[in-house]
């Protein structure tokens, strides 16, 4: 469960990215976060894994107050979240397998079990058999799939994605959106920011709309 209670984020210099944001996302929900560029979508998403800290208010993730989490506890919070960022943030000198393996290496998974999980995650995103390839040899959509496989390999209960379809052509974007919908059907809580909410329209997700740092609509 994700709870934002009167959350504000002001940057040094006075720029207010978010103001008085309150909402609640229940377990297993698919929520689409929409809004124009600069509306505060990325900032909001960054508050969940404590990449950014709120200047006011409370952010609760599964009952844990992330806004007051000590720095040393942040890695353990992130291990329970699946993060897909706007840029795939892949390691381009590592194979697809090694990129997806990274979260399991970090958590110290036994190599045998980890390899099986990587294979399963790649299978899930339709990249089975591409383990040895380097990310540079993949298309933009495929790179984003690798990033998604990396995000789900630890079997997180919450998946957060920041504009995962931003730089993809419509066909690839639909494929990626379908992947997130399928994860949600499997019981994963999905919070996804996008310019194009129509990609998820058929699933009738809950929609949060941000404008100038304020929540306009919590349908």
């Amino acid at each position: 469960m994700i709870v934002f209670d009167s959350v504000a984020k002001r940057y040094p210099g006075g720029y207010t990215a978010l103001a008085g944001i309150s909402f609640e996302i229940r377990h297993g929900e698919l929520v689409v976060l929409s809004g124009h560029s600069g509306a505060g979508k990325s900032t909001l998403l960054k508050l969940i894994p404590a990449i950014e800290r709120p200047t006011a208010g409370t952010v609760l993730i599964n009952g844990q107050d992330v806004s007051r989490l000590p720095r040393r506890a942040i890695p353990y919070l992130r291990r329970n979240l699946g993060l897909v960022l706007q840029e795939s943030r892949l390691l381009f000198d590592r194979s697809v397998f090694d990129n997806v393996m990274l979260p399991l290496v970090i958590t110290g998974h036994p190599p045998g079990d980890a390899s099986k999980r990587v294979a399963a995650a790649l299978e899930r995103v339709g990249l089975a058999g591409r383990e040895k390839e380097l990310p540079a040899g993949l298309s933009g959509g495929e790179q984003q799939r690798v990033a998604i496989a990396r995000a789900i390999v630890n079997r997180p209960s919450i998946l957060i994605a920041d504009e995962p379809t931003a730089h993809l052509d419509p066909a690839y974007a639909t494929e990626i959106a379908d992947l997130f919908k399928s994860f949600n059907r499997a019981g994963v809580t999905v919070l996804i920011s996008t310019h194009d909410a129509s990609l998820f329209a058929e699933s009738a997700p809950r929609r949060l709309t941000l404008a100038k740092g304020q929540l306009l609509e919590a349908a």
């Binding site: 990449i51 040393r72 390691l91 290496v105 036994p110 990396r150």
Partner: protein
């Protein structure tokens, strides 16, 4: 295998991979560290050899305890009893006055001594100590002077003092050199790790986003620094061994001209371990400072 051990094994593998991934850089760094470390290591070894050479050439320093000419056998026995009770003594030898006179006569002074009515020489004890510590020498001599029927105590310690002073000076110089070059090696590792952190910045950032802890990120750099230092230590050890091998024959020839037999000794296994461990520590220290400086997060 525990998770902690697994993560360390993985960090070692990662560090070895980075070392092997840039063989020229690794070799150059190891050579720089090794050559720099071989100077104080070689200096220490040289001092050690000089100390053992001095011991061999000059023999063990002695204290001569001369008794009063009026001292009798009972007095000599009393002194002997006191010497036996002294724990710092390695050995002692009694030289009766008649034996001393004979030695003097056989030394070419027979005519002079023949003109004397009586033996003017006293009984004496020649004492050798376990230690070469000049402070201990002085203290024992002072103690012996206070014993009954002891007329004069002569200690052959001036050369010991001089040697100790010279060796002390040499050791200080070697320590200073080790400190300075050690500092330079820490800087070399600091800079190598700094460059590594810069080139791996994106991997570090991604790892943090995926839940990597600070120790997870830092561990491979510590191992890298330590392993690089260890390689430098091994190069230093090799350089010292080569130096000893190259100098052995000329030094033996020089000793031969003084009628002595002397072989230059290389580092023993314990010294070798110390050199490698010291180099490893310097590498680790450079990594520690660099990591703290360049991987700091608010």
């Amino acid at each position: 295998m525990s998770n902690w051990l697994y993560l360390h094994v993985r960090a070692i593998a990662q560090a070895l991979g980075r070392l092997a991934g840039q063989p020229v850089g690794t070799l150059l760094s190891a050579l720089v560290m090794g050559i720099a470390l071989s100077l104080p290591a070689g200096g220490y070894l040289l001092l050690d050899n000089v100390a053992s050479l001095a011991r061999g050439v000059s023999g063990t320093p002695e204290i001569s305890v001369f008794l009063d000419t009026a001292a009798g056998k009972a007095d000599a026995a009393e002194i002997e009893k006191r010497l036996r009770a002294e724990p710092e003594l390695a050995s002692f030898r009694f030289v009766p006055r008649d034996e001393a006179l004979q030695q003097l006569a056989s030394g070419g002074l027979g005519d002079v001594l023949g003109g004397l009515n009586a033996n003017p020489l006293p009984d004496a004890f020649v004492v050798t100590l376990r230690s070469e510590d000049p402070v201990l020498f002085d203290a024992l001599a002072a103690q012996m002077r206070a014993w009954p029927k002891v007329a004069h105590v002569q200690l052959d310690s001036s050369w010991v003092k001089r040697l100790h002073a010279l060796l002390g000076l040499g050791r200080s110089a070697v320590l200073m050199l080790a400190g300075l070059l050690g500092f330079a090696l820490v800087i070399v590792t600091f800079n190598t790790i700094r460059l590594q952190i810069m080139t791996q910045r994106s991997e570090i950032e991604v790892s943090r986003l995926l839940g990597a802890t600070d120790p997870f990120i830092r561990r491979p750099f510590y191992w890298f620094g330590g392993l690089q230092g260890m390689l430098g230590g091994l190069v230093a050890l090799g350089a010292v061994h080569l130096g000893v091998r190259a100098l052995s024959a000329p030094v033996a020839a020089l000793a031969d001209t003084y009628g002595a037999v002397f072989a230059l000794a290389g580092p023993q296994w314990r010294e070798a371990v110390v050199i490698v461990l010291f180099a490893t520590f310097l590498g680790w220290l450079g990594a520690e400072i660099s990591v703290r400086r360049h991987l700091a997060v608010d």
